[in-house]
């Protein structure tokens, strides 16, 4: 049963003391910082939900679980383990001397799990479906078990904590007092349910990774991961309660009960030793222990993690002198808290394999979301501490009578502290808006894929039946070409705009010949750069996939005479100065347009936008090929529009031989080269 003093209510809210009588400077400073974090959080929240995960996080298909899962969920649940550990110690094992830790521990657990739930809303792609597991259960999923346990445990924690709220004078009405009585009656069943649910989901968070032995490093992957997760969570829970009471003693100015904390330290030392023995013993049993010494950086990380999180603090806490000193307790508990969070990060992100070229480092928005969730939880913790009886100071107060007049809220006034908090919130929010990356504001934008120029290579061509007509042997001019074959030496243009080695061998000369010699250039070459007659495709279609804006406004302003020159192009005074209302390019640059071209984007459509290189090439080639397969099937075959007429296998492509053909810096450096190519090609 509960301590008698817990039934009693507080006479006056502590907040009054803090703000009027004895302003607590440390607490006020901490609150200012927390409110500032909340300001940033408000901004990133809008960005996250307005523009999605791609715009605000660093997550990729290779790293679908990032900082939010590792910290908000994995570490958050583990940090909240103190609630069930202390509840078990006090209510089940009868260790009543730790009773003063129960409420802070249960409150921490409640807020921790709420933070987990809120953090999860950010991570889920479709957070409004978060209730789906309840009506669409799939009981083969570990995550289903975790979800159900967390949901139920949140309910249990709310009930466990509800007496603290119902004791407040605001609830001194018969109905609430009856409710309080009922909840206190079921304390023990609630505690037992809480322990059961905690054991289940603390361990199941480890089971989540059992499905991926292929990606998780063998030093972390283990068939008993679920036991390791549970035991480490218990150790962490004890140390978190310790760290938290040290922190709140500092913030609220209570005396530190080192005698009690030493007891927790002793328990933690034991639990952490068990954790180390299990982890190392399991590795030894499965013959993986030597991998820890193989010198790789992950092996180093493993050694550091296990020393920092468990071995060193467990050893230190085994000495009574250390665990009875505030410095010793603070050091050890900090090490364990950081170390076990590190363990969660390692399994979730760091030791979880991903392609080498897809590194993951969270964006500051991800960090700000998590920081905001934590700050919110801490602010609620402080609020409850100021208004409810959370930490038992030993003094007992007489139960106050319910006074309806007193319980009515006083008219709201802004205290100086509130003004400071608001200022911090607003300033931080403004700073965050300023720092938001472009994508977080306007939505994700594709990255540029600059197009590189095509290149001419020698090849041997062997005749084949339609629709392929010819096979090309690119580099091995001798050898693998069948001796019987009648091979023609030809020059082909390798078209590989994004330099991914998946090129098309384009026979420029053969195409020109088939289309009518020199007069046929205009059929495909539909437009030139200004003051140019041999513009290659890539010079305007500069991005592989995205539309390129080929019009340089700044250059025109400069050349035409700065501010006075607007009217040179923008001639309509009654319309806004836009691209549509100004002169078209060809009206000044007559040499840009090639008469008689197949491509229709000449005069009317000439507004300075060039489609992506791939779309342009496909648009140009496929239409003509399909026409030919319909009009001249006897020459070209009926399938001349098929993909592999152009995209085909190239025999004996020797990458080394084509070594000069490597990714080059994009842009106009290569212009002269390309001009040469274009001239050569047309002759």
């Amino acid at each position: 049963m509960l301590n008698k003093c817990q039934v009693m209510a507080l006479q006056m809210p502590r907040r009054v003391d803090v703000h009027t009588n004895s302003p607590n400077l440390a607490l006020e400073r901490v609150k200012n910082v927390l409110w500032a974090v909340m300001g940033v959080w408000a901004v990133v929240t809008v960005a996250r939900f307005a523009n999605g995960l791609g715009a605000t996080s660093a997550l990729t298909d290779a790293v679908p679980w990032g900082f939010w899962i590792a910290f908000d969920v994995m570490a958050g649940v583990a940090l909240a383990a103190g609630g069930f550990v202390i509840a078990a110690a006090v209510y089940i094992f009868g260790l009543n001397r730790y009773h003063q830790f129960t409420r802070p521990a249960i409150l921490t657990a409640l807020l921790g799990y709420l933070a987990v739930a809120v953090g999860l809303l950010y991570d889920l792609g479709l957070p409004w479906h978060i209730w789906h597991p309840m009506i669409m259960p799939q009981h083969h999923s570990v995550l289903f078990e975790v979800a159900m346990c967390v949901m139920l445990y949140l309910t249990v924690l709310s009930l466990e904590f509800s007496p603290a709220i119902l004791e407040h004078p605001l609830f001194h009405r018969p109905f609430f007092q009856k409710l309080l009585h009922v909840i206190k009656k079921v304390t023990i069943p609630l505690v037992i349910a809480g322990i059961m649910l905690s054991c289940l989901h603390q361990s199941s968070l480890g089971s989540l990774f059992l499905i991926q032995p292929f990606r998780l490093h063998p030093l972390w992957y283990s068939p008993i991961m679920w036991i390791l997760y549970l035991v480490s969570a218990i150790g962490l829970g004890l140390m978190m309660v310790t760290l938290e009471s040290l922190l709140s003693a500092w913030l609220f100015g209570h005396p530190v009960r080192t005698d009690l904390l030493a007891g927790l330290g002793k328990m933690a030392s034991f639990v952490l030793s068990v954790y180390v023995l299990l982890r190392v013993g399991d590795l030894w049993y499965r013959d993986k222990l030597l991998q820890a010494l193989d010198g790789s950086w992950l092996a180093g990380l493993f050694l550091f993690e296990i020393l920092f999180s468990a071995v060193v603090p467990a050893t230190l806490l085994a000495f009574p002198r250390v665990r009875h000193s505030i410095a010793g307790l603070a050091t050890c508990s900090t090490m364990v808290v950081l170390g076990i969070i590190g363990y969660r990060f390692d399994t979730c992100i760091i030791a979880f394999a991903r392609p080498k070229d897809m590194p993951y480092f969270p964006t500051w928005i991800e960090l700000a979301v998590s920081a905001g969730v934590v700050a919110g939880a801490v602010l609620v913790f402080i609020f409850f501490n100021e208004n409810l009886r959370i930490i038992d100071h030993g003094e007992t107060t007489a139960p106050s009578e319910y006074d309806a007049a007193k319980a009515k809220r006083a008219p709201y006034t802004f205290t100086p502290a509130m003004r400071r908090h608001s200022l911090c919130f607003v300033v931080a929010a403004a700073a965050a808006i300023g720092l938001l990356p472009r994508e977080a504001i306007y939505g994700p934008e594709p990255r540029p894929t600059p197009v590189a120029h095509s290149r001419q290579v020698e090849a041997l061509a062997i005749d084949r039946e339609p629709p392929l007509r010819r096979a090309f042997h690119l580099s091995s001019m001798s050898g693998s070409v069948p001796a019987s074959a009648d091979a023609d030496p030809v020059v082909v243009t390798m078209i590989d705009g994004n330099r991914n080695w998946r090129f098309v061998a384009f026979t420029h000369d053969a195409h020109a010949q088939a289309l009518g010699g020199r007069e046929s250039c205009r059929i495909c070459h539909h437009q030139n750069m200004t003051f140019d007659q041999n513009t290659a495709c890539y010079q305007c279609h500069r991005d592989m996939y995205e539309i390129t804006d080929t019009f340089d406004h700044l250059l025109h302003v400069e050349k035409l005479g700065e501010n006075g020159s607007c009217a040179v192009c923008h001639r309509t005074e009654d319309r806004a100065k836009s691209r549509e209302s100004s002169l078209a390019c060809w009206q000044c640059h007559g040499d840009m347009v090639v008469e008689g071209s197949m491509i229709q984007s000449t005069e009317a459509g000439l507004t300075g936008f060039a489609p992506g290189y791939m779309d342009a090439m496909h648009g140009l080639c496929i239409r003509c090929h399909e026409n030919l397969s319909e009009t001249q099937p006897e020459v070209y075959g009926t399938e001349f529009g098929r993909c592999d007429v152009c995209h085909r296998e190239f025999k004996d492509t020797d990458h080394r031989r084509l070594a000069p053909y490597v990714p080059m810096p994009p842009g106009h450096v290569m212009l002269s080269n390309a001009e040469k190519t274009a001239t050569q090609g047309s002759e």
Binding site: P64, I92, H140, P223, A353, N500
Partner: protein
């Protein structure tokens, strides 16, 4: 979960990389069938030609001009299906593993679980969904074959019942055992890997790069978590019983101790609080 595979009635795709020229007709057909947008170079794609939310199948070129078509393997016992906590991913009796975006909550555990790293996410969207090959489930039910196998001009990727495909694959590798990898005793990729898949490969190059690890083993992946998950009910009852037992025992011992103390020091009032707390 571990039902015997009915090879006669479940469908499969067999891809023979020796016949593939990398023309991407399959990719084009797939994109047409599902009305997929054009590929764009987003931050989360290191290679636009890779599998993505707009590309359910793609051709990966290996050194020496070997073209390998990648797509969902449609495992017989899929890790993603066992991982999904709302049943948004389902293994159909016809073979395809299909996805229902109305159920999905976007936890991306399927992406974490897949041994082949197949599911892709629509990261650019504020309402994102998982995207992957569904082996044209609707077309299969209509009696047609998937768009990709229909489009292949070289018969490099073919469709049929799993039994037919395995027979065909065995016929090919036995006819030319030195052509296929590993040379001499070729392997049918997907025949036994992770309990068998509905997308099979025979190849002249090593295809181990398709999985996250060279050797995925023949054990179905879901069995790994089910081993731990099946212990949940007994553990739950065990913990509850143990805690109740401990509570009762310790409570009784303290009660007895109090009685004893009361007997020993009758006028004591310092111990009366102990029973309250």
């Amino acid at each position: 979960m571990s039902a015997k595979v009915d090879n006669k009635h479940t469908f499969a795709i067999l891809t023979d990389t020796t016949k593939c020229t990398g023309c991407e007709a399959c990719v084009h057909a797939c994109k047409q069938t599902y009305g997929l947008e054009r590929d764009r170079a987003w931050r989360w794609k290191q290679n636009v030609d890779d599998l993505s939310s707009t590309r359910f199948t793609t051709i990966t070129t290996r050194p020496g001009s070997h073209h390998v078509r990648r797509q969902c393997r449609h495992c017989l016992e899929p890790a993603c299906v066992s991982a999904c906590l709302v049943g948004a991913l389902q293994k159909t009796p016809e073979g395809p593993v299909i996805y229902d975006e109305k159920r999905c909550m976007g936890c991306r555990y399927c992406m974490m679980a897949c041994p082949y790293g197949i599911p892709r996410y629509k990261w650019e969207s504020a309402v994102p969904v998982v995207r992957k090959c569904i082996m044209c489930h609707d077309r299969i039910k209509e009696g047609k074959q998937p768009a990709c196998t229909e489009a292949c001009p070289y018969g490099a990727t073919i469709f049929g019942t799993r039994e037919e495909m395995l027979t065909e694959a065995h016929r090919r590798i036995e006819a030319e055992p030195d052509k296929y990898y590993p040379h001499g005793s070729p392997k049918i990729y997907g025949e036994h890997d992770v309990g068998g898949t509905s997308v099979l490969y025979i190849s002249d190059v090593n295809l181990d790069f398709l999985g996250w690890k060279p050797e995925l083993g023949d054990e179905p992946v879901p069995a790994l978590t089910w081993g731990a998950l099946r212990k949940v009910p007994p553990v739950a009852l065990g913990v509850a019983a143990l805690m109740s037992g401990v509570y009762w025992m310790i409570g009784r011992r303290m009660h007895l101790q109090e009685l004893q103390e009361d007997v020993e020091q009758v006028p004591g009032d310092g111990t009366s609080n102990a029973s309250e707390s």
